[in-house]
Amino acid sequence: MTIQFNDETFRDDYTFRNSQWAIDRFPFPFHEDSYMYSVNMEQHQGGPAGSVFEKRFDVDEHYVSEMKDRALVLAEDPLRCQCLPHMTLAGWDLLELIMVSKSEDYPDLFELHREGNNWHWINKPLGIDHKFVFLDETTLPYGPMEYITRQSQGDFAVLDQRDDNLWMDAGMVTTQADWSLDFDIGMNFFEWHAPVPKANEMGIFVRALKFLLNIQQGTPARRLNWTMTVNPLLDTSPENYHKWGVQKTTLTPENIGTKQHLRVELQTFFRLPRSNALVFPIRCYLISLQDLVTVPKWGRRLHRVIRDLPVELATYKGFIDNRPMIVDYLSQFDDGLPTSDGIWPDKNTEPPLQT
């Protein structure tokens, strides 16, 4: 299909909207009516046609506007994209992975022509037509990681692997759930996850690291993570927290359906061949509660998950103060009926809301 790209904003007047197509394919993160941390990894080798899991790097209707928002963030704060010197080769690996994947998966939108190291890249949605020499930084306007991630939705953490650990040594981070690349760059897997409550004691990170260290070329993996965001604000950064934090206090029972968004991260993991580094794309999907509850199963389930979430997690995810209002709102869409297993909307089999 040809994607119609939205012209929309993720700040100020917040004109971001999901089409019916985007709502139907939203990556709802809860496979049952409750939530606790787990190492919920699976192979990233495609998925149902049309789903966000189908392609290696999902491109959707928000692509062009998200890339504009990224450019705005970087103009204000260039430290959101950093690459320690030894990670340049990994940057080229990432550029190749994304260009090859997108040109194969979306041939109508992206083209890559290669003759030896002379590469020709065409990105039609963004109007880019560029010839450059692979592995020669001087032929690109930015470093290879920055160049390609200015053209790819989602954040990218590029991890060096050494001493049986992963090190966050490069990244492009402008759509983050409140963590700072500038502060965390250079940290190992346990250090950058240190602020996450409970998961450490549960042994989650030891198991997750073991899994990630063994991801090999040709066998990428994925998982979903989530939080809540007031307004469709992509850039919920610690850097700007003193500016956006106050937006959390603007929720009212009247506006909560349109203002409160579920924020879902599709996290994928690919081994990079030349550098032996691991890239960790973190793709952010936003949906307003009002749109989400149009899927009866999701309305029922989200109410139950948010209501029963342990206090530490609601605090860490930053919505403890707003939880009562969110639960109140969602309770209208939970009639107590059982829900089907799995994350899919099951619109044809799940009953409509009983009123």
């Binding site: 430290l79 502060f183 996850h193 700007n240 934090g245 206090t249």
Partner: protein
């Protein structure tokens, strides 16, 4: 009493150790204030160490207290300077000429150890191979996550960023690369509502 037992914390918070002699052809020791005590104990543990050692020492508020004892250690080189920042170029020059096998010992405040560790790591020594021992003040070197400015010797939580003036709370999240803890706006969701500052670890 120059020793302090830090409460257990998250994985990114540095855990300081106790200096012990290690094999190596040369040794570099960097200390401030009460950190001198850890070097004196280290010298006692192995009396052959000092003849292969360079010491950089910054007395800060302790004045002359430890100078005579340090001079009596017989280090190959003892430099006493007014501040760490004044000695950074000297430290970099020393590291430039150094070879693998060099042992590094840091003692004193978290600020001093953090900054010296960053230099040594940048020069190619794995941070986990650098020995540390905390002594003296528990004040913290803080980075404002908003303006990126560093405020040193922070003793209260919250505190005021010395660059942008925001009221920041003190996190245990620590960056080796910045050699500082993270300070985050305390009244972002409730502007003007700043809790009364309390002394750290009180």
């Amino acid at each position: 009493m120059s020793k302090f037992e830090f409460p257990e914390s998250i994985n990114s918070r540095p855990v300081w150790g106790t200096l012990e002699p290690r094999p190596g052809k040369s040794h570099l020791m960097i200390a401030d204030a009460e950190g001198a005590e850890a070097l004196l104990e280290l010298a006692k543990a192995d009396d052959r160490l000092m003849s292969k050692s360079t010491i950089l020492y910054f007395p800060k508020g302790t004045g002359e207290t430890y100078l005579e004892d340090l001079e009596n250690l017989g280090a190959a080189q003892l430099y006493v300077g007014p501040s760490y920042s004044a000695a950074v170029a000297r430290l970099r020059r020393i590291l430039q000429d150094a070879h693998m096998g060099l042992q590094i010992y840091l003692s004193g405040t978290e600020s001093l150890m953090g900054q010296a560790m960053r230099e040594a790591a940048d020069a190619g020594i794995p941070h986990s191979a650098i020995q540390t021992e905390h002594r003296g003040s528990v004040a913290r070197r803080m980075q404002c996550v908003h303006c990126k400015g560093i405020t040193d010797d922070v003793m209260t939580d919250p505190f005021v960023c010395s660059h942008c003036g925001l009221n920041l709370f003190v996190r245990d999240h620590y960056s080796r690369r910045i050699a500082a803890y993270q300070g985050v706006c305390v009244d972002a969701e409730n502007p003007g509502n700043v809790p009364e500052p309390v002394e750290l670890y009180s």
